[in-house]
């Protein structure tokens, strides 16, 4: 079924093939060192957890564009015992105010300030665009739920992979998956971009998408192992990467284009989501070619692992 590469072309392109293998190993080395770097970044810097997970109050207001941030801070610190952070939200006059809540059993809104009242002395029209008050126990629960979702999704995917592919082949896709998720997390840790529920959703979506490329290459590798059992595994992997390369580029390209559209047009609430998806898709493509194909070679995957079960004469 698979004889895309006729013998002549294989011979003439032998040198290049070697080159591709080298390239794959080289990129795997980069990936591995980046992974170690990413893990240390996460360990050192931690995350800037969003309101969804920590609880607290976030209010977005629109004021007269002449109002300076220090005036707002001054008024807020008069009204609140908690430290209130004032962050500019893109356009002039638009501010995000954030502070934490004391952990009590009472209604959360009792501890929230009436922002319109507090900012009255500014002599500006105060428009509250949105406001979220999340109790500390809810944040805790959401964090636990999010962790659980990540874990369950990982387990389901592992179960699926081990059912669908031989373990040596599956290990590559799995490493690629960890690679992508860790890389995205490290980005959020390094830049201290707020990690909220939407970003978590993006991370979970990356779990699905990252595997997409790996699985399509793995499918070809399996096909190669079955149809041309004599070839060395590096050769089979090179061919699988080449055969799927244009597809990988086209699909990653269109998905990246739409994510960029989301990034450019989607506005503030979807910004971190788009960034996470963007990085996830980039590394997903990269890792499916690098670590995704190299790990099975390290584990010495060969055609024997896809040799078909002997049928015994005696039933």
């Amino acid at each position: 079924m698979m004889s895309i590469f006729n013998v002549k072309r294989v011979n003439s392109k032998f040198a290049e093939m070697k080159m591709l293998t080298k390239l794959r190993y080289f990129s795997s080395l980069i990936s591995l060192s980046l992974m170690i770097l990413s893990l240390s970044v996460i360990a050192v810097k931690g995350f800037n957890w969003g309101l969804d997970f920590t609880g607290g109050v976030v209010t977005e207001v629109r004021l007269d564009s002449k109002v300076a941030s220090k005036d707002i801070s001054a008024l807020l610190s008069l009204a609140s015992e908690q430290e209130v952070s004032v962050i500019s939200a893109g356009e002039p006059g638009r501010w995000v105010l954030r502070y934490s809540l004391p952990s009590t059993q009472e209604d959360v809104s009792q501890h929230a300030m009436d922002i319109e009242q507090v900012l009255q002395p500014l002599n500006s029209d105060v428009e509250v665009l949105n406001s979220s008050i999340v109790g500390p126990q809810i944040g805790q629960e959401l964090a636990e739920q999010g962790g659980l979702a990540l874990l369950v999704a990982m387990l389901c995917i592992m179960a699926y992979l081990s059912y669908r592919f031989e373990w040596r082949l599956a290990s590559g896709s799995l490493l690629a998956l960890f690679h992508d998720v860790i890389f995205v997390l490290a980005f959020f840790s390094l830049t201290q971009t707020e990690f909220n529920l939407t970003v978590l959703a993006a991370v979970l979506a990356i779990l699905g998408y990252s595997l997409n490329d790996s699985i399509i290459i793995a499918d070809r590798i399996r096909e190669g192992l079955r149809t041309e059992p004599g070839l060395p595994i590096a050769e089979i992997n090179d061919r699988a990467v080449k055969a799927t390369f244009s597809r990988t580029m086209v699909t990653s390209g269109t998905t990246l284009m739409t994510v960029i559209a989301l990034w450019v047009m989607g506005g503030g609430p979807l910004e971190s989501f788009s960034i996470a998806m963007f990085i996830g898709i980039l590394t997903g493509t990269w890792s499916s070619i690098s670590v995704g194909t190299c790990l099975p070679e390290v584990f010495k995957l060969n055609s024997d692992h896809y040799r078909l079960v002997p049928v015994s004469d005696t039933p």
């Binding site: 079924m1 977005e60 059993q105 009472e106 959360v108 809104s109 929230a112 509250v128 665009l129 949105n130 406001s131 008050i133 999340v134 109790g135 126990q137 809810i138 959401l142 739920q145 979702a149 369950v152 999704a153 389901c156 995917i157 669908r164 529920l197 939407t198 959703a201 979970l204 979506a205 779990l207 699905g208 595997l211 997409n212 699985i215 399509i216 499918d219 055969a243 799927t244 244009s246 597809r247 086209v250 699909t251 269109t254 998905t255 990246l256 284009m257 739409t258 559209a261 989301l262 047009m265 506005g267 609430p269 979807l270 989501f273 040799r307 078909l308 002997p310 049928v311 015994s312 004469d313």
Partner: protein, 620 residues
């Protein structure tokens, strides 16, 4: 000798056989398949269309409100006040004022309140903006989440601890009384962890007596021997769950009743998890009014009924506003009620059995002894804070029953109507006992301007992403590219159609992000197929056969590639909440529709256009 069978070989042989049998039918779809395809797309298009027009903010004036002016006058008055009116509909005495600007909804409601007799019958509503011929087909626009529409959302926590504690206290009282009656001296009763009660017996031989008593009198509790002369009594797990369910349901019911006073047609009150209640109020811009209604407290009281016209009495009203004369002071208040459940009595009629605490039991016993044969009224009051912060009280009589005999701390009320009405009464009685305090643990407000901004941004991103993908595919794959593009457009139409059709499906901002991602990923199905077709052409097959083999060999890969994303979508949907569920929904649905259009619809198109093209020099 061992016989090795190559699966691949077997597969090819099998395949060849299949090819032979359908040789005549290469690249042929039967007419009914085209029929299914066309019908699906038309139905989905019709279902998706109303969402294109969106919804307008409106005020519903029900016929109970008593509109005092004519429609023309109404129109004139509102216009004078600067309200931008789109249209005013009137049907069955109900008037719908449709506005051009959502921001004017609250202002219009205030204006209308002056023109009607009963302002409480005005409700904020949404009217589909689609032409009426479209709406008459029974299709509705996609429901938007709060992050797109603007509004207030609360998450309430129902505290169950006091409920369990109350039951515990009642049991402790009962055990103490039993000890006194049976002259079992020196028994210590104290509260343990986890709402359990610990009995330390002076004489371990009496343990059987206690076990017997609890089993017969308090079957909802279980007794465990902890050591010599120590018994631990705790609520059975099933009872605890039942109690929790009862309490949360009762709170749900109460909240629904209270929220309906706010006059918001599409308010949502639903249970979340074990002991949480989520309330969504679309269109509400000020959470203060909603909070005072949610935070209202209810109480219940039993009164002696006096003959009509009595001087030394107070007048309460029942549901039909008939006055009921009752004693000035209630016999006892709802704080003494521990439990109320509906059931079927000995005579086969519905009844509500009530359990009082010990103090309540004594009061009731003393009162009922002197009043056998007399009626007793039950009243239900709700206290709420209005916008000015004043407490207002609403009281009504929910039942009048005749006392048949002397009552203790467990008695039942009959004559409350059928079983359903008895259940309703039981619910009110439990609500009135106010045993489970409710606290707001999360409050989110999304201003209407931000909601509108989110919609504009989201759909701009969708349009841009879609346009870029269409152009790219058109250039990259040329003649097959347009097939992929038609499939992509059909995919989005079906996706919107499904979102509007599926009950409970809500479009949120992350949901739009899911749609945009779907656009990028949907072409993958076509790309996989086209690459295989290219491979087959390179191997020297003619176009028609390359198409056939391309589709066949790509199918397995497509399934594999989509399944992992499907797994994460399902996990996200089942574990996530609100907006995240919206994302999981569009992501998952998008996968399904992209498989349908990518495989089925584009195959149909390609078969129709190129199915008989046996040219070997085609460039794709």
């Amino acid at each position: 000798m061992e016989k090795l069978v190559r699966k691949q070989g077997a597969f090819t042989a099998n395949y060849a056989m299949k090819r032979q049998t359908r040789k005549k039918l290469l690249n042929h779809n039967s007419p009914w398949k085209y029929g299914v395809l066309i019908v699906t797309i038309i139905v989905m298009l019709l279902s998706a269309l109303p969402s294109l027009f969106g919804e307008d903010a409106a005020i519903e004036v029900s016929n109970k409100a008593g509109l005092s002016v004519s429609l023309i006058e109404l129109h004139k008055q509102l216009q004078l006040a600067g309200i931008d009116i789109k249209r005013i509909d009137q049907a069955d005495g109900q008037t719908l004022v449709v506005l051009a600007k959502q921001a004017q909804q609250t202002q219009t409601k205030l204006l209308l309140a002056k023109l009607v007799a009963k302002p409480e019958h005005l409700t904020l509503a949404l009217a589909p903006a689609a032409p009426s011929w479209l709406l008459s087909l029974g299709v509705a626009p996609i429901k938007l989440g709060l992050d797109l529409r603007g509004g207030v959302q609360f998450l309430l926590d129902v505290d169950l601890e006091p409920v369990y504690r109350l039951h515990g206290e009642s049991l402790v009282d009962s055990i103490k009384q039993f000890s006194r009656e049976q002259k079992l001296m020196g028994t210590q009763v104290r509260y343990g962890d986890d709402d359990s009660i610990i009995l330390v017996l002076a004489n371990s031989e009496t343990s059987d007596q206690y076990r017997q008593f609890i089993r017969s009198q308090h079957p909802r509790w279980q007794v465990k021997q902890e050591g010599d002369g120590i018994l631990t009594v705790s609520l059975k797990q099933t009872e605890k769950e039942l109690l929790r369910d009862f309490t949360v349901k009762q709170n749900l019911q109460t909240m629904r009743g209270r929220i309906s006073q706010l006059g918001i047609t599409e308010a949502l009150v639903q249970r979340q998890g074990e002991h949480r209640i989520r309330i969504e109020l679309p269109g509400v811009q000020d959470p203060a009014a909603a909070k005072s209604v949610i935070g209202a407290t209810a109480s219940l009281a039993f009164y002696e009924v006096k003959p009509p016209g009595s001087v030394n009495a107070k007048i309460l009203r029942d549901d039909t506003l008939t006055p009921v004369y009752v004693s000035r002071k209630p016999v006892l208040g709802g704080e003494h009620i521990i439990d109320a459940r509906a059931g079927i009595g000995e005579m086969g009629g519905a009844e509500v059995s009530i359990t009082l605490d010990n103090a309540g039991g004594k009061l009731m016993s003393a009162f009922s002894r002197d009043n056998i044969g007399h009626p007793m009224a039950t009243s239900y009051s709700e206290y709420s804070r209005n916008a000015q912060g004043e407490v207002s009280q609403q009281t009504r009589v929910i039942s009048i029953a005749t006392i048949q005999s002397q009552l203790g701390n467990r008695f039942s009320i009959t004559g409350a109507g059928d079983y359903q009405e008895a259940q309703q009464l039981a619910l009110l009685l439990r609500a009135g006992s106010m045993t489970a305090p409710v606290t707001i643990v999360e409050e989110r407000t999304i201003g209407p301007s931000l909601g509108a901004e989110n919609i504009v941004n989201g759909f701009a991103a969708l349009a841009l992403g879609m346009a870029m993908t269409l152009v790219f595919m058109g250039f990259w794959y040329r003649r097959l590219g347009w097939v992929a593009n038609v499939a992509l457009v059909a995919n989005i139409v079906i996706l919107f159609g499904l979102l509007a059709l599926i009950p409970g499906a809500v479009l949120t901002l992350p949901g739009i992000a899911g749609l945009v991602l779907t656009v990028g990923m949907a072409v993958d199905t076509n790309v996989l197929i086209f690459e295989r077709i290219k491979d087959n052409l390179k191997q020297g097959r003619d176009f028609a056969h390359a198409i056939d083999r391309g589709f066949d060999s790509a199918f397995g890969t497509i399934l594999d590639a989509n399944l992992t994303t499907m797994i994460t979508a399902v996990v996200l949907y089942s574990i996530g909440n609100g907006p995240i569920q919206g994302f999981a929904l569009t992501l998952g649905l998008g996968l399904l529709t992209s498989m349908f259009t990518g495989i089925f619809a584009s195959r149909a198109l390609i078969n129709w256009a190129y199915g008989r093209n046996f040219n070997r020099d085609v460039r794709v």
